[in-house]
């Protein structure tokens, strides 16, 4: 399933084959704006003594991590995962169990979640990666349905209530998820690290092969590349990103439930990616932020925010399939190019 809705992303990525550009690309500027904006938001919240919106923003970032993992698969490899919440939820459960029964160290909880996610990703990938297109989507969907139902019915894991009473986790003595401002920064840093790692990856031969697989998987084999291995690797990486993001959730909210693996969560992640801009990597983060905010605003008026988001999504798919950042990037790039030329720089 080649997906040219993402070509703008590839064309707009910094051209590594040219002499290193001394100016930043539009994509980089949009990323800077996002993270700077997030820091500004944190500062304002701190100044105003707000905790509610800070927690909401942290949650938006956490789900942004899940969206990133979806974008890696959808926007870069060309596979549509309709069950990525599986890894998110598994990471959340693992984290909750570690924090509740073993240690309150954030780092240990994240590390265990990472290992677990990698293993789960390997198993899931071995099952799912042989398939493409709608088959992959359905296997991904099915895996999430099946595992979430199993957990829903497992008494030891809290069944439908999930696991509650997860204690605050500590980064360092005295500093932990109990402090919203500190935790916000930690999550921002972590998601930022994921973003940068993926940005970097796309400029490596490994990342470029993933793009090539998305664009013309058939030919890739004749270039000596075993596409299956690359796709599996990407799937495991995506599972890790989703799992570690999920591991942050109980640290924020103090509980986990099987609903974290339900289709709702997977579906929202896909919507965040499409609205934000498939393949742009920063787009899904914008998408998560905007839609979390939107859900909260609409949700304060009515319980039916899903339908609003759903309609918005359908409109985007029909009218703006490349998403917000997908359209903004080339526009911004042209503007930057014009400014660059008129300023008379020599490159």
């Amino acid at each position: 399933m080649s997906s040219p809705i993402t070509t703008t992303a590839v064309a707009a990525a910094p051209a590594a084959h040219r002499a290193p550009a001394r100016r930043l690309s539009a994509a980089s500027w949009l990323a800077i704006v996002f993270f700077a904006g997030a820091l500004l938001f944190g500062a304002v919240a701190l100044a105003l003594g707000d905790v509610f919106y800070l927690r909401l923003a942290t949650e938006a970032l956490i789900f942004g991590g899940l969206a990133l993992s979806v974008d890696l698969l959808l926007g870069r490899v060309g596979l549509l995962p309709l069950g990525q919440a599986l890894f998110f939820g598994l990471g959340a459960y693992v984290s909750a169990l570690v924090l509740k029964h073993w240690t309150d160290s954030i780092w240990l909880a994240l590390a265990v979640a990472l290992v677990f996610s990698a293993l789960a990703g390997l198993v899931g990938g071995l099952i799912a990666i042989r398939s493409k297109g709608v088959y992959f989507a359905l296997i991904s969907f099915g895996l999430a349905q099946v595992v979430s139902k199993l957990i829903y019915n497992t008494r030891e894991l809290g069944a439908s209530d999930g696991i509650i009473g997860v204690p605050a986790a500590a980064m360092a003595p005295g500093l932990g998820s109990g402090t919203p401002q500190v935790f916000f920064l930690l999550v921002l840093g972590l998601i930022g690290a994921f973003y940068l790692a993926l940005r970097y990856l796309m400029d490596t031969p490994m990342g470029r092969q993933l793009d090539a697989i998305r664009i013309n998987e058939h030919r890739v084999a004749f270039l000596g590349v075993d596409a299956w291995r690359y796709k599996l690797g990407a799937f495991v990486a995506a599972a890790c990103i989703a799992g570690v993001s999920g591991a942050l959730y109980p640290m924020l909210r103090g509980f986990v439930s099987p609903e974290l693996m339900f289709f709702q969560v997977s579906g929202h992640a896909v919507i965040n990616v499409i609205v934000g801009g498939t393949g742009t990597l920063i787009g899904p983060l914008y998408g998560s932020a905007i839609l979390t905010g939107l859900r909260s605003v609409v949700g304060s008026f009515t319980a039916h925010h899903h339908i609003v988001i759903g309609v918005l999504f359908v409109v985007v798919v029909i009218l703006m399939p490349r998403g917000l950042i997908g359209y903004a990037t080339p526009v911004l790039q042209r503007w930057l190019d014009r400014r660059h030329h008129s300023a008379g720089d020599r490159t």
Partner: protein, 297 residues
């Protein structure tokens, strides 16, 4: 020996017959899905929602005082209108883009999200019950079976046969198959391709709707029923082969039998995983399904 016969008569057979009543509804739904895919090359992720809407329409019509029989007749007609509008209004807009497969997948997925919440808004989140129109039971093989279930089996079987005849034995069916095979050629032969596409989608949706009405008295009616059911519908279509009518019928009947017989021995929690596991195995061993052709999807 007596034990075995008893087991056959009083344990296995009833399960199989019950399974058959579910099976025909599953087949109807799978037929709709596979016909939509076979002709339009569209994966209708909203198919489960159309099934749910069918059930809810029955609830609504019954609430208006109409009898179940009226609901059974009117629902597919109303569903067909909804399906036609969806295809003309939404799906056709992305049909010509280069990205068609991804976009229609996402689009129908979005439509599913919207429809599911719409149902919740209109009807509330609580499960609703629909009274079976036929009461009582009939003795078959020394056991009593609810008459409604027997009716579902008969009607379902008749509908499946009608669909098969329509597709393979009528000129309308031939026209539709021609349009599926070669769109441009059919258009230049005067076939109104756009309308055929919309009508086919409408037809598939109507089938899902009928399945919803038929199963409403058996399962209760709740907003997420579509999402739960769509996995089995897709599993049937994938195992049977996307676009294959024969595959949808055989896989649908077979898989529901597997489900009902296995429910004798394993807890219902494992029912979905079992089905899913079969789907994955089939995909790994024979990606085009039992009767499908490689190159679809």
């Amino acid at each position: 020996m007596n034990h075995a016969l008893d087991w056959l008569q009083f344990v296995l057979a009833p399960q199989m017959i019950n399974g058959l009543s579910i099976g025909v509804a599953v087949v109807l739904m799978a037929l709709g899905l596979t016909i939509i895919f076979g002709l339009l090359d569209v994966i209708n992720m909203a198919h489960g929602e159309f099934y749910a809407i069918g059930a809810y329409l029955a609830v609504a019509l019954l609430g208006l005082g109409l009898s179940f029989w009226w609901a059974l007749v009117l629902t597919p007609l109303l569903m067909a209108v909804l399906g036609y509008a969806t295809e003309r209004g939404l799906i056709q807009r992305v049909f010509h883009s280069k990205d068609r497969h991804t976009l229609t997948l996402l689009l129908t997925f979005g439509v599913a999200v919207v429809l599911e919440d719409a149902l919740k808004i209109v009807f509330g989140a609580n499960p609703l019950r629909v009274e079976a129109p036929i009461a009582g039971a009939t003795e078959v093989l020394g056991l009593f079976f609810p008459n409604y279930r027997l009716f579902v089996m008969l009607l379902g079987g008749a509908l499946i046969t009608a669909v098969w005849l329509l597709v393979f034995r009528t000129s309308l069916g031939a026209v539709v198959r021609a349009a599926a095979y070669d769109r441009h050629m059919s258009a230049s032969l005067g076939v109104p391709v756009q309308r055929v596409y919309a009508a086919t989608f409408a037809f598939g949706v109507a089938l899902a709707g009928i399945a919803g009405v038929l199963l409403a008295p058996i399962y209760s009616v709740f907003p997420t029923m579509g999402r739960d059911f769509v996995l089995i519908a897709f599993s049937v279509v994938i195992i049977g082969g996307m676009g294959s009518i024969k595959g949808a019928v055989l896989a649908g009947l077979l898989l529901t039998q597997v489900q009902s017989i296995s429910s004798l021995y394993i807890s219902p929690v494992w029912s979905d995983p079992l089905l899913f596991g079969i789907m994955v195995l089939v995909l790994m061993w024979r990606p085009q399904g039992l009767f499908g052709k490689l190159g679809s999807a």
